[in-house]
């Protein structure tokens, strides 16, 4: 009879469902397999490029008869640009000035560096470094764009993220009102006990604290923090290693012609 459910109809239906399920599975499988993450340690790469450019820069390298010697840094030129120490990087009294903006290396001294990035450059003379004496140079090269820093500041982006993740559902509003009531009640009790505050002010403060405490969950705040934290700091937190902490090998030539082995270390802090 027309309209009867026969074995053929059931088989055809099952077959159609099977084909559809297979198609969906196949689609997801292909998408998952080809989705390659192009995540790279951008800061590490940038630091390596900057270190390589620095060891070729005419304001740092040794030059004789018009020939520039890549990787051979002139100690006198380093003295002119960087802060020098005879106690290595542990010389906090001297090296703390490196972080003072008035000592930052500007673009007229070294025209290398990334926009809105603090480039900490450290140079160490390995042949003249022992527990009593360690010759080292340090400085921070900057190239700041105030407008971009203001617009893309991580703190502003963090605030934007919090606003965007604000939950306006009825459940959340009820929770906020409940927290206000509970905080208000507690505040009123505390306010009535403390002389000079009073029940009303205590209740208002308690309600405010309750509302603020329920505006965002710790997960939402944590998510916004991790999304807007500069990548170099995130990498530092996750790996416990500053970028390019081993640096690139160099030679340092002094005025008396002596050549020492050394290392140039670049660590970047990208502000936006």
């Amino acid at each position: 009879m027309k309209g009867d459910i026969t074995i053929n109809v059931i088989m055809s239906g099952l077959f159609a469902i099977g084909v559809a399920a297979f198609a969906v599975y196949f689609l997801f499988k292909v998408f998952q397999e080809v989705q390659t993450l192009n995540f790279q340690t951008q800061t590490e790469r940038d630091a390596i490029f900057l270190a390589n450019a620095l060891i070729s820069h005419e304001k740092l390298i040794y030059e004789k008869d018009g020939i520039k010697y890549r990787g051979m840094l002139n100690a006198s030129k380093l003295d002119d640009i960087f802060k020098k120490s005879y106690k290595g990087f542990n010389d906090t009294d001297n090296f703390k000035n490196v972080f003072d903006p008035s000592y930052w290396i500007t673009q007229d001294k070294i025209d290398l560096g990334y926009t809105n990035t603090l480039s900490l450059i450290l140079i160490i003379d390995l042949d003249d470094c022992n527990k009593d004496r360690c010759v080292a140079w340090g400085g921070i090269a900057t190239n700041l764009n105030a407008l971009e820093l203001a617009v893309n500041n991580p703190l502003i982006n963090f605030g934007k993220c919090l606003v965007q993740s604000f939950d306006v559902s009825r459940g959340h509003l009820e929770k906020t009102v409940g927290a206000c009531a509970a905080g208000g009640g507690l505040g009123a009790v505390i306010g009535s006990v403390i002389p000079g505050i009073g029940t009303a002010i205590g209740a208002a403060i308690g309600c405010g604290v309750g509302v603020i405490a329920t505006l965002w969950t710790p997960e939402e705040i944590g998510n916004c923090f991790m999304k807007n934290i500069p990548e170099s700091i995130k990498m530092w937190v996750e790996t416990d290693n500053p970028v390019s902490h081993k640096g690139v090998p160099i030679n340092i030539i002094y005025d008396d012609g002596s050549i020492h082995k050394g290392r140039l270390i670049v660590s970047l802090l990208e502000l936006v």
């Binding site: 196949f26 490029f49 390589n52 070729s56 990334y114 926009t115």
Partner: protein, 154 residues
């Protein structure tokens, strides 16, 4: 009455045979198609990934930074793709690249990347060949970038 039952049974057997035949042909076709489609999709994704705005921006900014590694002069030629054209602009030591894929189903998304050398700001439209140079003139080194087209298929 018996004849009717026989005809119905024979018709039912015929339908089952047809159904099985279609089922087997469909399964075989799907198996063949699985291989062809996955290979084609992988090739497409690989091509799009290699020629993407993100990849080209990173490569180009890296080469511009690498130009600083040469003490005197350097000449780097870079052709990211022969079949895709790009809009590239730079300001404040940051480049923005937009890959202009011809298929409409590939979304055109720009990507930014930083470089550390002292290139002047520039803007190029519909290009796919770049020449990055560090030149020394009158004792002064400076950086220069020019762009053109290898083949216009955009």
């Amino acid at each position: 009455m018996v004849l009717v039952k026989l005809v119905k049974k024979s018709k039912s057997q015929l339908e089952v045979k047809w159904f099985l035949a279609i089922f087997i042909v469909t399964v075989i076709t799907l198996l063949i198609l699985t291989n062809i489609i996955s290979t084609t999709l992988t090739r497409l994704y690989q091509e799009v990934a290699e020629s993407s705005s993100e990849n080209v921006a990173i490569q180009l900014s890296s080469l511009m930074s690498a130009a600083g590694s040469a003490p005197d002069r350097i000449d780097i030629e870079y052709v990211p793709s022969e079949g895709v054209l790009y809009d590239v602009s730079a300001s404040g030591r940051k480049i923005e690249v937009l890959a202009k894929f011809s298929p409409i189903y590939i979304q055109k998304m720009p990507f930014e990347s930083k470089f550390c050398t002292n290139f002047a700001d520039f803007k190029f439209n519909d290009v796919n060949k770049f020449s990055i140079q560090k030149i020394k003139e009158n004792g002064v080194s400076y950086y220069k970038i020019s762009a053109g087209r290898v083949r216009n298929e955009g």
